[in-house]
């Protein structure tokens, strides 16, 4: 019963918005804002075809692998930096500087070094996704509880034991905050990297449609991007709820106490 009502809550607003769009655009004569019915039929025609393999799949794979590489790098660099006060003092100003550079401006430079292939697109995605994960991991590790740290030492935890059972879970709430920020940046960069120079991908296809004035098809691509982002965020949310279920429980318990 509760699952059902939560599901209804979740889909109510999207349905209303879709209905609103449907009726507002019904009979629209504006070339750039075609009726939703036209967009939806274009959606079926365009995307339920070979394009799923030729354009959607490459985009999704590039996004997923770039995102995972960035997450791995963020953790691998963030843990040692977070643990060492000295290392932090050295690298933190540099990190803040690098983070402030908008990744899209790197695209032309990356094309010079890495060409226009998959490597360049991955580098663009990684160059943007890295910072939220890295900086949040550093912050999460830095803020680990001292008493818990003393506990791991008093009970003679191994280095691996400290990492697996103390450092990573303790920093996990902030790491996930970083992962969520990175995901939205990753989707933006996936599209941008495909708009500069590409021969396939969702971003590439949208630009092609726009340039050939296939407006309903272009809109259908934009809807598809939204769906891809939504699916990625749902998967991340699912993982987060599994990994951090203790954290949500702890927070709820603390709220009840006060």
């Amino acid at each position: 019963m509760r699952v059902l009502s939560r599901f209804l809550y979740a889909v109510a607003l999207p349905c209303l918005l879709a209905l609103g769009w449907w009726f507002a655009s019904r009979g629209s004569q504006n070339f750039f804002f075609p009726p939703l019915s036209g967009i939806l039929s274009a959606f079926a025609d365009v995307w339920f075809s070979a394009k799923i393999v030729e354009d959607v799949l490459p985009s999704v794979l590039r996004l997923a692998s770039g995102y995972l590489i960035a997450a791995g790098m963020g953790l691998a660099l963030g843990v040692p930096i977070g643990l060492s006060t000295r290392l932090r003092a050295y690298v933190e100003p540099v990190l803040e500087f690098l983070r402030a550079i908008p990744p899209p401006v790197l695209v032309p430079i990356l094309i010079l070094f890495a060409g226009i292939g998959t490597t360049m697109k991955l580098m663009v995605i990684v160059s943007g996704c890295l910072w939220p994960v890295l900086l949040n991991t550093i912050e999460g590790v830095r803020g680990l509880d001292e008493t818990l740290g003393a506990t791991t030492r008093a009970y003679r935890f191994t280095r691996r034991g400290r990492l697996v059972h103390f450092i990573l879970p303790g920093a996990a709430p902030l790491i996930f905050a970083g992962l969520r920020q990175s995901l939205s940046i990753g989707i933006i960069l996936m599209v941008i990297s495909e708009m500069f120079a590409a021969s396939n991908g969702i971003g590439f296809t949208i630009v092609q449609f726009q340039r050939s004035f296939a407006i309903p098809e272009m809109w259908s691509g934009i809807i598809l991007l939204g769906l891809v982002g939504f699916i990625f965020a749902s998967v991340l949310g699912f993982v987060e709820r599994r990994v951090l279920h203790w954290y949500f429980g702890l927070r709820a318990a603390e709220r009840n106490d006060t």
């Binding site: 008493t147 003393a150 506990t151 008093a154 009970y155 191994t158 059972h165 203790w246």
Partner: protein, 272 residues
């Protein structure tokens, strides 16, 4: 048995822990602070020793030096004759802040188990130790709960279970009951006395509460204000079987209380 406990002091039993002129000086560019000024005492095997001192007496610093979490700037700590340079295997710690010494991402059982796992103990043996430790602290059916689902007193019981499952020779407790309510605190005090009897473990118990120290200990060490030294070492000649009402209303309890209270007051005045 009862006479035995009463008569025993450090002299009566082989020395387990030897704290020898431990000094701790913190120095920065502008000033040096002497926290520990040469603390010296021994704890016999199987003893229950309480340490009391005014707040700010460097009790926690002293415990960190004893447990190998902090290297003293002078003097040595020896456990079973070996110098303590890192946390020793024969020692288990219970911290004051129970909520921050249990891992909130693990169940009660996993919290008790983890130190054993880290020591490379086989699964069967771990299972046995966990269930007997949880039974000893009176928590048989919360093994799969998370610490934050339990009350403060129960969380501290979990921390005690983790410590005794580790099978230490000496159990070191840093003001473990300072943050729980009075009734829970009385229950936990009796629990620690019972465990001490049952397991034959040595206990070093730090508190700021004079009554608690007298009620629990066989010996009470009174610390001075910083730079901390041991000012007094009092044998608690109360009957071994203690209970919250009876023991605390003995006239001898009152005398010991008065004696220690005077010591602590003097310590505060010399510091002020």
């Amino acid at each position: 048995m009862i006479e035995d406990r009463n008569a025993a002091t450090a002299q009566g039993r082989p020395t387990l822990l030897d704290v020898d002129a431990v000094k701790m000086v913190y120095s920065s560019a502008h000033r040096t602070v002497e926290a520990l000024g040469g603390v010296r005492f021994t704890v016999g095997d199987g003893e229950f020793v309480c340490i009391v001192g005014p707040s700010g007496a460097g009790k926690t610093t002293l415990l960190k030096c004893i447990s190998g979490l902090l290297r003293p700037t002078g003097g040595t700590v020896r456990l079973e004759g070996t110098e303590v340079k890192a946390p020793p295997q024969a020692m288990a710690l219970v911290f004051q802040d129970y909520a921050r010494s249990l891992f909130p991402w693990m169940t009660v059982e996993a919290n008790v188990e983890l130190p054993l796992k880290q020591a490379g103990m086989a699964r069967r043996q771990r299972r046995d130790l966990i269930s007997s430790a949880l039974a000893d602290v009176g928590l048989t059916d919360v093994g799969s709960a998370y610490p934050w689902q339990l009350s403060g007193g129960m969380q501290q019981r979990v921390a005690i279970a983790r410590a005794i499952a580790y099978r230490p020779r000496i159990l070191v407790m840093d003001e473990p009951f300072a943050a729980v309510d009075a009734q829970t605190r009385a229950d936990l005090e009796d629990l620690v006395r019972d465990l001490w009897h049952k397991l034959g473990v040595t206990v070093l118990f730090v508190t700021h509460d004079i009554d608690e120290a007298i009620y629990l200990g066989e010996r009470v060490l009174a610390l001075s204000a910083s730079p901390t030294v041991v000012m007094d070492d009092i044998a608690i000649d109360l009957p071994d079987a203690r209970d919250q009402i009876g023991t605390r209303s003995l006239s001898r309890f009152g005398e010991l209380r008065k004696e220690l209270y005077g010591q602590i007051q003097r310590a505060r005045h010399t510091s002020g």
